[in-house]
Assembly symmetry: C3
Homo-oligomer: 442 residues x 3
């Protein structure tokens, strides 16, 4: 539960807001590289943290993310012409490079142009490409180094990267990503009126004896059987490792461990060591919508064609989408909730893990009201997340660099699952699952 003031502080990210200043101290995913597929391709509108830009890829392949307003008479550069290493305003031909420098002002005499040109530079974000993502830095000072994400460091064929529109504030959607407790309900399947497995992921009912059942199957039963995971939250240089244990069979615990990386990234649990990894970044478009960038990668092998195709069509945290990365199931169509499906085989009646997550986050309102909540032990990860980002919001006002912004290496961590004896010390659990990739000092 937050005060009304803290709720506003957590959720408001426009210019000159405390949380907005926190976001502006980090690199942000701004577009997919594939949205600007080739030199001199069509420019794209980009809205980030409530500010508008136009992005383009110049003749030499460099990306510019510039304010969209031509300084001459205010025409929008989105309608400009991208060519010859710049973008040229359609109104009177003023031309700008990817750093916002004004290159040509053809309505002026050469002498006037010489004099006025320095004042005609437009704001340009520093931009870099890494991991099939175009990253932007919106801060005033010099940009730090890019954070090191494993998905961005593996060979391109080892990963699949996309994004999706979420129609609510970033923070509640991010909280959903840090909340493994909801797997026992939100994503459950239904058989004969009882929760079973994960709908569409494990439609068969797991055997209840647990014998001869591999952990990769049994975990879906464990998720259902224990709706009350125990949280232990560990802090590290880039954020938090959220460790949640559920009762498994015998004297074992099933651990799901999520990374929260400042200020808006998560690496998801759900994967045993040989399985694909998943991650997300929640980037505010404005305070009532965000882009969720989605990463799937395998450190050890290329993704198969079948995996890539499945992710493209919609699977797991990747929704089925229409044009412009808008999910087919969304706020205005109630996520196509199917009440017959809900009665017979899905806890929600909404198809798709991503869609279930998006629906429940949207349902908390355009901006969730955290002044009326009843938080419990399973919400510990969410509480720690709020404390960490609100502390950053306080600190940034005093000139402090927020956590992780100057520690790019601290982002080279992993999340994932493990089954361990109940009496294992938490740090031993972490070490046996991740080795040096936990982020946590062992």
């Amino acid at each position: 539960m937050l005060s009304s003031e803290d709720n506003a502080r957590l959720t408001r990210t426009g210019p000159d807001t405390p949380m907005g200043n926190v976001f502006r101290a980090y690199w942000m995913p701004a577009l997919l590289s594939s949205e600007l597929p080739e030199p001199d391709c069509p420019p794209k509108r980009v809205r980030l943290l409530g500010e508008d830009f136009v992005a383009f890829r110049d003749t030499r392949g460099r990306v510019g993310i510039v304010e969209p307003v031509c300084p001459h008479r205010g025409a929008n550069l989105f309608f400009g012409r991208v060519a010859d290493c710049g973008i040229r305003c359609s109104y009177h031909g003023w031309k700008f490079d990817h750093r916002g420098n004004c290159l040509e002002m053809p309505t002026l005499t050469p002498e006037a142009e010489e004099r006025v040109r320095p004042r005609a530079a437009i704001r340009a974000l520093e931009a870099r490409e890494s991991g099939d993502v175009i990253w932007a830095y919106m801060g005033d000072g010099p940009a730090p180094e890019l954070p090191r994400f494993e998905f961005a460091e593996v060979p391109p064929e080892h990963r699949f990267v996309s994004k999706k529109l979420q129609q609510c504030n970033w923070a509640q959607a991010c909280e959903g990503g840090l909340d493994t407790a909801h797997f026992s309900y939100l994503h459950a399947g239904i058989r004969d009126g009882e929760r079973v497995g994960l709908h569409e992921v494990s439609p068969q009912r797991p055997r209840s004896d647990g014998e001869n059942e591999p952990p990769s199957m049994a975990r879906f039963r464990w998720l259902i059987e224990d709706g009350r995971p125990q949280f232990t939250v560990l802090e590290h240089d880039a954020g938090l490792l959220l460790c949640a244990s559920r009762e498994a069979d015998g004297d074992q615990l099933y651990w799901r461990m999520t990374q929260f990386l400042m200020p808006n990234h998560s690496l998801a649990p759900g994967n045993f060591p040989d399985e694909n990894n998943l991650g997300n970044t929640w980037v505010p478009i404005d305070d009532e919508s965000c882009w969720i960038f989605c990463y799937c990668w395998n450190p050890d092998r290329p993704l198969t064609e079948k995996e890539t195709e499945r992710l493209s069509r919609g699977w797991g945290v990747f929704p089925e989408m229409e044009a412009d990365y808008v999910p087919v199931r969304r706020r205005e169509n109630d996520y196509l909730v199917d009440r017959t499906l809900q009665r017979e085989s899905s806890f929600t009646g909404i198809r798709g893990i991503s869609e279930q997550d998006q629906a429940i986050a949207d349902s908390q309102g355009l901006i969730a009201d955290r002044t009326r909540e009843l938080l419990g032990q399973t919400d510990l990860g969410v509480v720690k997340f709020r404390n960490m980002v609100l502390a950053a919001a306080s600190g940034v006002g005093e000139g402090k660099t927020p956590k992780g912004a100057d520690c790019p290496d601290a982002y080279l961590v992993r999340s994932g699952d493990i089954v361990a004896p109940a009496d294992t010390e938490i740090l031993d659990v972490v070490e046996s699952r991740f080795g040096t990739m936990s982020g946590v000092a062992l």
Copy 2:
């Protein structure tokens, strides 16, 4: 004509408004029973007087109308699962019964649950079913008895009940229902450029001699011939009997008598003793739209299959509708006004009595401005209505029970038409038409 303050007072019905408090002292139609057709059917969103709820019918058939926000983390219960005598939040499985009690909190340990559960109850409206309508009581104190409407007391096969969306404030739409004067124009047909009968109801031109013409036909001519009905308004324990007389043939008057029942019901005129009765309730969704509940019933016989089918397809105060009780002809399509029809055979060019009423009320604005009006004798019913509800708004602030709220029997009244000699005393007219069912002390 009202002052700007009184106009606001009359039209604003949200929480903590004077008129809102008046409405909250009465039972309100909230949904049709058929919107929750069977136990554990899909829940419905309900918006009443600017407040949001989710309604569901539990396994035992009981109706719950509860606030839609889960007290755990604020997910919306509309996406919840209705089963096992409750509604369960899709996020983490908290479960509530139809009275808002929290039944299960599976994310908590049994001890924590025991401790926190009382604080996890959600607001639930008292709900009752009567006359194919689900009624809700939104007040703070104990609910009074349900008002006794005749349509609700006849056998179900004697009635047809539906609702329709009106895209403006409740009060101006209600005023249209109390205003029999407009029948001379709004609902008129046109032949050879002159007003005749009622368009589509009595397309044939009534004979002008009036001989051999039964009153059931002649009344359409009388409606046209006298656009200036004389009003006499009588008060009773539940509201007002609005008596309007027009010149009939010879030395006779044609009386149309409308019931206004506090705070937002009307029983319509237009029926002679052997004909079907019609009634309406205007329930604010918010201050710029309302549901109009529509009742047709016959005290003496079941409605015929033909009557029921006609009402379903759109007839009289029942419009032709699309999904979700939205009229086909509505604000955004200008009620499909047909200017050729208007020239040739309909005074408005809009098809349907209901649609004509809805169009003209909407046309007064989202909230009618009553600070510029020129009221006359034919507006007496409207004036008396305003005085009565504004008096209730004043009284409720002083703790007075508004008129009728504690007199359920006073709602067992009728409206209707009669032809009587011009020199008959008004109370004799009323008695000869209604006997004891006028509501008025005779």
Copy 3:
């Protein structure tokens, strides 16, 4: 560049605003005559300077533009019945003539009607028809004489008049019309990556030698070759003659001369003496949209059938349109910008001169922000326009009649192009092109 205050002053035209008062001192195009094609045809909604009206043509062909609110109970007269030399409210039949006089109040007794009727008059704008346009005067005092536009004085078959919706403030759209500098870019065609001619108007690349090339072809090359026209602005009794010269071949200048006529008219350049004339008026609907009335006429001959058909389908300043004068290419569909077309043959990738103009004006925002601009010599016409209308806004507050409002004859002027030796005095250039039709004292 304007201060924030001056920008608001220039762009706000509602009741009781300085610029609104300026507009209300002049006749305004309100509708096309063809929108009310015959006596007793369907009425039309009209929104002018943020005020709502309903327009109708009565049985005798006279146009009424009246406030839409019936004084009885506030129903909207748009749903009224136009017949018998008046418009009758659909609710209770009150009837009004084209001057707003109340003619009948059938809900009142004759005595009451006699007494109340004078108070039941509704506001009616003075309306006149000229040049296929219905003009309205919104001022309080007596209307001046209609301005004398040549398009309105030629025989009807010499002209083509239409209108189009512009989805931004009037002033920035008008500024686009006064800005001949943008022809070098906004309307350019592209061949082999270089700007050429005007897209779709002169697709062939002009010969670069300029020999044997008539001025009617060479001008498209001159427009491209010189993006920096030199402005000389001359004032006259109705507004400004904006003279812009570009380098032509040899020692010649190519002059394009635009009329700005107070407060919102322009006569476009682009025509040599034997060619058709074009004019525009920007009429605020409200502060975020306007109607642009478009005039094409030939003083000397009827327009050909081919010309008229081309203008109807969309050509030059006449866009391709859907119903209700809404352009096919508009704000919400990004003007169907075609990025392949932009790469290969059109500077903007938007089809149509009108559409290019509309796109760039809209792109400046719903209301352009003029507090950040870098104006140069080519913006001199725009600056003079702003100064003139802002001076009128100041003057009208002191009771001064704004420029031109009382000089109807001063509007009988022309715009157009000429090629002249570089050393010709400006007044000689003007005289040789227009004779006495320049408006400027020679």
